[in-house]
């Protein structure tokens, strides 16, 4: 059969952002794939070298659109590590809550994308709608719905509003009850199972070598989670389970995410229950004259798609020497995709992309 070259993207409903996949196809079968990025390069890392530490802060949340809080938290922790700034206890609890809220909203977005890519269009309607309830809470807490600019070196910007706790717990009850519907419509759906089981398989013995992280790695049966391996903020004081499923296909990744969704709800309930009183931020020095000692640091956390790391080098001046962002999509979207796409069907490309959590803005920054 004749081999055809097919360019999928950069504008395509099945692609999870602006990137292009160059495919060699034979009929319906993919022979070779190559990822091209560059459509969203904004030069953030370069821009941050020209700015003071606090001026760089509004930039970092733009690095990944569905997960701004992850970037804010990483940046804040990197600056704190380099400068030796302490964070009050209550701020750490609030930060953890924000991270888990971010995980929930990201999983809701993923559920919509994953089932939408299989033609189950009711799910996106539901999950995007439910995600808006979470965004309402974000708006109440931070003032912004998508970009929050909330986690700040030294703490968080504002305390919890009055009555926030009750509304948050109500929302958690609501999301938990919704999970039954999601399970019926998506996770136990015959079409979803048929298309997800055995598709986009990552072999267990290759997963670590290929740099797979996060729910995708746990979907192959290997249990690694930054929250447990290297507890940051207050994760060592919370009780939660990290699920693993054997198989390495889209379905096992979906089950991992489903389990983690419920765990996040339980974590937020624990935080709401145990959060201590106290100050929420430590004052930083005059940000225009704030010199940070020379040093290197690498901070990481578990985002909804895996290890999200920030490498930061400071040279003792008011400005950053270098910051480098390691998003999970940098590996998942380029080298891993080139490994697992060949052999699968053309119709499964967007399904696989969604299940890996590929987010182009963080590949290019």
């Amino acid at each position: 059969m004749k081999t055809t070259k097919l360019y999928l993207g950069p504008q395509h409903p099945g692609i999870t952002g602006n990137m292009m996949i160059e495919l060699d196809v034979e009929g319906n079968k993919i022979l070779k794939s190559k990822t091209h990025v560059g459509y969203l390069h904004r030069g953030f890392e370069k821009l941050m070298e020209r700015r003071t530490y606090i001026q760089s802060f509004p930039i970092v949340c733009r690095i990944c659109v569905p997960e701004p809080d992850v970037n804010e938290n990483n940046y804040a922790r990197a600056v704190e590590k380099l400068s030796g700034l302490e964070v009050p206890e209550r701020a750490k609890w609030i930060r953890t809550m924000v991270l888990e809220m971010a995980r929930l909203q990201s999983y809701l977005l993923w559920m919509g994308g994953q089932s939408g890519s299989m033609g189950l269009y009711t799910m996106p309607q539901w999950t995007i709608g439910d995600r808006d309830y979470l965004l309402d809470r974000f708006e109440e807490l931070t003032g912004g719905r998508v970009y929050h600019l909330y986690v700040w070196p030294g703490g968080v910007r504002k305390d919890l509003p009055i009555g926030f706790k009750t509304r948050m717990l109500d929302l958690m009850d609501y999301l938990e009850s919704r999970m039954k519907d999601y399970t019926k419509l998506m996770f136990e759906n015959a079409i979803f199972k048929k298309r997800a089981i055995g598709t986009g398989v990552i072999p267990k013995d290759k997963a670590l070598e290929w740099g797979v992280v996060g729910p995708v790695l746990r979907g192959t049966g290997i249990k690694h989670d930054v929250r447990i391996d290297e507890p940051y903020e207050i994760y060592d004081k919370l009780e939660f389970e990290v699920p693993t499923y054997e198989g390495g296909d889209i379905y096992s990744r979906a089950l991992v995410r489903k389990f983690e969704f419920m765990q996040s709800i339980s974590i937020i309930r624990q935080i709401m229950d145990k959060i201590p009183e106290g100050p929420i931020y430590n004052r930083i020095p005059n940000p225009f004259k704030w010199k940070i000692p020379k040093g290197y640091t690498y901070v990481k956390l578990e985002s909804s798609r895996g290890e999200f790391g920030y490498f930061m080098a400071s040279d003792g001046s008011e400005k950053l020497r270098r910051v480098n962002v390691r998003g999970p999509a940098y590996v998942h979207g380029i080298s891993l995709l080139e490994k697992i796409l060949p052999g699968s069907r053309l119709g499964d490309v967007s399904t696989i992309l969604n299940s890996l959590g590929v987010c182009p803005p963080e590949m290019e920054r």
């Binding site: 560059g38 670590l208 040093g295 080098a313 480098n324």
Partner: protein
């Protein structure tokens, strides 16, 4: 627990590699190691095969034009030891060359292509070196180098709108008055 493994790794590495320039602890579960550029491949090989540093977190580069050096940083993670290693090596800025580690990790290719494009570091043995990754038809110096001035480039290539007549330099204004405002 984490502390003892950190010290153990430190001692082991010191014993095995006599040529290490310096090795220090950079906070909890972090080791910062300075190496000569010729040792980097054998060190990474040893770390991956015998010391269980199986996960390549990232390859990064820091530019030090005042010393005329590029500093390449390899960040490796060991899941079993819970340690993150930062292997640093300084190479000449005029002729930046290093051995590729693409045979150890397939994803290293992407990092190396990006460093080649953004800093002009050449990785020997990477067959996809020189490929366009993010930039298209770039003819200036590699843009992440410190001596590439992004503001100057923007001024040269893009047109700005006319300024307002009543403008003042807000940044300096705030900086002068910041301390006195904060007292209020």
């Amino acid at each position: 627990m984490g502390f003892s493994k950190l010290t153990e790794t430190k001692v082991l590495l010191k014993q095995y590699f006599k040529d290490i320039i310096s090795i220090e602890e950079g906070g909890e579960q972090r080791l910062i190691i300075d190496l000569q550029s010729k040792d980097i491949t054998s060190m990474i090989n040893h770390l991956k095969d015998f010391m269980d540093f199986k996960h390549l977190s990232m390859i990064s580069c820091v530019d030090w034009p005042e010393e005329n050096k590029f500093e390449i940083v390899y960040i490796l993670t060991s899941y079993s030891k819970n340690i993150v290693l930062m292997l640093k090596t300084k190479i000449d800025r005029k002729n930046p060359k290093l051995q590729s580690i693409m045979s150890l990790w397939p994803q290293a290719v992407t990092y190396e292509i990006e460093l080649n494009e953004m800093f002009g570091v050449f990785f020997e043995g990477n067959d996809r070196m020189g490929e366009e990754f993010i930039l298209e038809d770039w003819d200036d110096i590699p843009p992440m180098r410190r001596d590439f001035d992004s503001l100057e480039y923007a001024n040269k290539n893009f047109k700005f709108r006319d300024e307002r007549k009543d403008k003042k330099i807000i940044r300096e204004f705030i900086s002068e008055h910041y301390d006195e405002w904060r007292k209020k």
